[in-house]
Amino acid sequence: MQRTAEQIEQDLLRPVFHTSKKYWVAVAFATSLFFAGVAAFCYQVYAGIGVWGINSPVFWAFDITNFVFWIGISHAGTLISAILRLTNATWRRPVTRCAEAITVFSVLIGALIPLCHIGRPWLAFWMIPYPSERRIWPNFRSPLAWDFFAIATYLTGSTIFLLLPTIPDFAAIRDTATGLRKKIYRVLALGWQGTPRQWQRLETAMHIMAIAIVPVAVSVHTIVSWDFAMTPVPMWHSTIFGPYFVAGAIFSGIAALILTMAVLRKVLRLEEYLRRIHFENLGKLLLTMSLLWFYFTFAERLTTWYGNAPPEMVVFWDSIRKNFAPLFWIMVFCNFLIPVPILGIKRLRTITGTAIASCTVVVGMWLERFLIIVPSLEHKFLPYSWGTYRPTWVEDTLMAASFGFMALLYLLFSKFVPMISVWEMKVGLQPHGGVPVATAEGEHHGLVLEGPLPTDVVE
């Protein structure tokens, strides 16, 4: 059945106007997780960060693992949607917004973690460059200072990138809503009218943002990798880390995106918008990244193994044969052995299939970060000073809280903003899916809204 602009309007704005009980349950759950984390953090500040399992020499563990993990997840959105915009892949339309939302929120969380993990959180603001009475500025040689700038830029950029296209949708809600909601959205819409000039400027701006955000995203995760690569620590001090981390980040990002889409699809009844084609295309991307990840991992390990430098080999063997071997091989399964067949075989590349693959990838990529950080710190150059690490309940709670916080932000966002860009969907209705004939290569899947529903949707 043909979806008209009117139906799109109703379908996509429904979540904004109607709230189910389930929604509130979910919000309550996420909130409680979040506040558990807040409590744990307060306890840590009160008692001293010694309530964590970190020790000498393992000074970083769960904290930085989660930091890298969330910053990695953030590479889903912006990067994907920006690239798809630039390549004018019209199937992107239902995908971009939920992707960009993931980005903004996970960067936010990623940026919070370092603040929790430092010894004196109340002094975190010393990272900010401002003319302080201490007459001392941040040390721009420090990768942490780079982090500060990169993440600040990325957060700003991706937030703008996310919010610009919402303005017209806010306007739509403003015009259809009444009462308080109307007042709120009147402000949010900034007085958007929809004149051709406004549309033109909006699309130009989005185009520039798309161009600008891609290199920023790349730089962010490169710099995160440099937090490690800049130090003379066995298996950290490696030139491959930049691209390795970026690839890993996009990898985990896409996985997170697929998962989120699968959930939204069910919860917000978007079966007719998020269709198999989207999961298939993203699945193909995920497959590519999985292969790329394996390539990087192999390259990194091979170089170490062949070089056979004693300090590095200690970490090498410890992760693949000794204490960390179980985690390591779980990681290999999660990131490669499981997803590749699922995503490689067309028959398995279903919505469920890609979702399962994404699940394993998210787990696997978390493990990857953990395995980069902890084994190396446990085994630095002087064997006498080696140590071991066990997390405590405080760290576990904080980690759970980071997921809770993510869920919470996402839930609230989906309440105020249609998770699929309404006006962009409508553009998809136009002949050639809104693509100027000259550039209509993506036409065959430009408009995916007619014809019977794929079987995998009805259940």
Binding site: G50, I54, S142
Partner: protein, 235 residues
Amino acid sequence: MSHKWGMVVDLDRCTGCEACVVACHAENNIPTAGADQAALGRAKHWIRVERYWEGDFPDARIRFQPVLCQQCEQAPCEPVCPTYASYHTPEGLNAQIYNRCIGTRFCANACPYNVRFFNFFNPQWDMPLELQLNPDVSLRTVGVMEKCTFCTQRIKAAEIQAEAEKRDLKDGEFNPACAQSCASKALVFGDLNDPNSEVSRLERSNRGTKLLGELGTKPNVTYLERGTWEDAKNG
């Protein structure tokens, strides 16, 4: 004349008696971690005597190796600090400025010698043990890194004294607590800018090596390898 403080550790003299360890605790107000924290790997020893086994019974041998901050000239710990808390003094020491430190622990990871220590909690002394605390050395609060300072308080005191007396510092006029307590003179401290100081003389020894020298950190601590009876006999 500006100073460049350095130390020579003669592994042939070191007996592993660990007098230096206790001296350091006493001088620098290093809190005792206690059994539980020590079990977690949080015992603090700014100087430690590392021991490595070589061979098996009955040919087992032990190598003692006192390890303290190497006061690197190109210290990996310094550039990574976002707040300039780990700071390179003009006299070549890797200083840690406690009240600048926000506790990112990045320096500790960057240090290949693992000689930087973190205050996981506020230090604590059971009354009246705190009467022993050295008023010349500040206590470190929770969340900051700390490390060997070459007993900078002693350096400063000696320099001020010398200045008051309008003279240069004499070699061996003062020593860090560890070197002071070392009975077999395995630890020798002094000014590397003074070519005639004992430490400079020993540093030029052909037994001299740098700990993890291959990392290019340019330590100001030199290790003198163990000699053998045969070497000595053959001249």
